[in-house]
Structures are given as C-alpha cells and as structure tokens.
C-alpha cells in the first residue's frame, strides 16, 4: 500500500501502534509492518516527522532512554492521545462499514 493511500490514516495507525505500549521510532515502524503483514510499505523516515507533530500536538509524549550505549527516544500515548485513538477507531469503523455497504 502506497503512502498516498495511508494519508489521513497515518496518525491513527501510529497512535494504534503505541496503544500497545511505549516504543521508539524503529519499533513503531516494525510494529506497523508486522501488524499489517507488510501491507504498509512506508518510507521509514516519513514516520518520524509524524511522531514529532503528534508530540507537538500533545497526543504523544517522549523521553530519552539508553539502549546498547545509544540514546533512544521512546514515545508513549498521552491521555489526549488515547482519546484521539478511540475517536480514530470509531471513525474508521463507521467509514469501513459504509464502504463495505456500498461495495458489497
């Protein structure tokens, strides 16, 4: 699936990935690939700007940790982020239901 098709859904997908627990950028991208069985073929660098924006909007928070002697930024959902994720899930279900109804 191309990045253009994911436009508008990427925020929810990233929030959904972090819904399972805190993770750093690489882990978020890997989890996106794993959960979508490789369907979301994103240029990996494109996820980081979205992570930064979601944090600036207060939907994510992040902290530095150490891993294998390297500094690593770990992201987690904030309360507002969790509410946005719930909203995103509801919207997606309604949208998918409507598309299904038309295409079926």
């Amino acid at each position: 699936m191309k990045a253009e098709q994911l436009k508008g859904h990427l925020d929810s997908l990233i929030l959904g990935t972090l819904g399972a627990g805190p993770a750093h950028g690489y882990a978020v991208i890997e989890e996106l690939k794993r959960r979508s069985a490789g369907a979301f073929d994103l240029a990996e660098g494109t996820v980081y700007p979205v992570l930064h924006r979601l944090e600036a909007e207060g939907l994510l928070a992040s902290t530095w940790t150490e891993a294998s002697g390297r500094r690593r930024r770990v992201y987690r959902l904030t309360r507002r982020g969790r509410a946005a994720l719930d909203g995103g899930r509801r919207e997606w279900r309604a949208f998918a239901h409507a598309v299904d109804a038309v295409l079926a």
């Binding site: 950028g25 690489y26 660098g45 700007p49 930064h52 909007e57 294998s68 690593r72 930024r73």
Partner: protein
C-alpha cells in the same frame, strides 16, 4: 559527507536547528544502528517533511502565545491609563501608546483568527506576520507608556520578546505562499471594518464630550481617531491582509 551530517545541514536549511535538529539526527542514527539497510529517505525531503508537519502546530502555538503576551500588555495599559497621573512625560508618547494599543488589539485578534485555522503555508505566514505586527505594536505601547512617564509598561516587554522568539521559530520553517484575504477571517469584512471603525470613533467622540464636557474636544478627538484609523488601514492594510489576497 555522512547521512547524519547531510540530514543536519538539510534540517538547518529547512529552518530546524538546535535541540530539535539534534534530536532528529540522534533518532535517525539510532534507527540506522537498528537496521543499517533502512530506507530512511533523502535528507532534503525528510527535512522538508519535518518542517511541513511542524509548521501548523508551531504557528498555532506562536499566535496563541503572542495573544497571551498582548493580553498582559493590555492589562498593563488599562491599569496604567486608569491610575497614572497625567502630569509629566510626553503627550506624544501617550498618543503613540494609545495608537499602538489599537493596532496591537486588531493585529493580535486577526493573527489568532488566522493562526487557529490556517493550514496552507501562505495563511500560516500571514498569521505569523500579523502576530509580529501585534507584538511590535505591543512593544510600542510599552515604550509609549514609558515615554509618558509610566514605567509599568516595561512589565509587558519580557513576554513580548518571548512571544516574538516563538513566532520567529515558526516563521523559520514556513515558506512563502498565497494567503487568503480578510474574507477568510470575517463575514462581510468591509462592512465589519467600517462598523468597527465608526463605533470606535463614536466612543471616542462620546468620551471627549462627556469626559471633558466639551463638544469641541469630542469632535477633535474623534477626528484624530478617524484619521488614525484611516492611516492604520492604509499603512497596515497590506501586511495584515485587510484587503485582498496577494502573493506574500
């Protein structure tokens, strides 16, 4: 040149510097350490994408911050006007403070209106420019009050300086573009502006007539206010987009 150095250069070119640029580079270095074959993308495109993702939220924050700093300035202005003795200081400074207060109020409100709804680069730049005009006018209030012998005006300056810095950060990552005119902020912009101008002039007239018990004084003040408003629209019409859309 290494990928990290190239990315850092491109981030700087896109207006992202300092701690944020360092953080991005560190995150990408960590990513490459996890997967040396990772497809992170061209540094220039990545830097542009970071700027694009961040400019809306930075502008929104900057215009709200500017408005808060101006609100503090407004409180200082009103308290000073209500409590300061008229003796001492230059009357021209007082007049400048009054004119700047009106410019700051209008520009600050317009900046907030556009800043909260803007998405395109042109609209974001306009919100930033309006915010900067408002902050400069706010500084004019502080300086004018000081010139009029009321040093309370200086209290507002640190907040204005901070707000200007935040606005500059937002501006650094926003390219030029086409902005919509005043019609994007106000319904019936010309009618609204005319009514607003007439109301303010009317209030000044009343204040002169009632406060000074002199029709002549009231008319003089209303005339000065009217000319000031017309000059303000003439001089600031373009930077504040009080008229039509244009290339900025």
């Amino acid at each position: 040149m290494s990928y990290a150095s190239e990315l850092r250069n491109e981030l700087a070119r896109a207006g992202i510097r300092g701690a944020q640029a360092q953080r991005i580079v560190t995150e990408f270095e960590d990513h490459l350490a996890c997967d040396p074959e990772a497809r992170l993308g061209a540094p220039r495109e990545l830097a542009a994408r970071f700027a694009s993702e961040l400019r809306v939220v930075r502008t929104r924050r900057a215009t709200v911050g500017a408005f808060v700093a101006l609100a503090l300035c407004g409180v200082v202005f009103l308290v000073t006007v209500a409590t300061h003795s008229r003796s001492g200081g230059s009357p021209w400074s007082a007049l400048a403070a009054i004119a700047c207060a009106q410019i700051a109020l209008v520009a600050g409100l317009l900046a907030l209106m556009r800043g909260l709804r803007a998405r395109s680069a042109g609209d974001l730049r306009l919100a930033q420019r309006r915010g900067m005009v408002a902050i400069l006018a706010g500084a004019g209030v502080a300086v004018g009050l000081t010139g009029a012998g009321a040093y309370t005006g200086l209290v507002a300056l640190p907040g204005l300086v901070l707000a200007a810095r935040v606005l500059r950060r937002a501006r650094a990552i926003t390219p030029d573009g086409e902005a919509r005119g005043l019609e994007a902020d106000l319904p019936l912009p010309r009618v609204t502006l005319t009514l607003l101008g007439a109301s303010v002039t009317g209030v000044v007239l009343l204040q002169g007539v009632v406060g000074e018990k002199s029709v002549q004084e009231g008319l003089l003040r209303a005339g000065v206010e009217g000319v000031g408003l017309a000059l303000g629209v003439l001089l600031l019409g373009s930077p504040l987009a009080l008229r039509t859309s244009r290339r900025r």
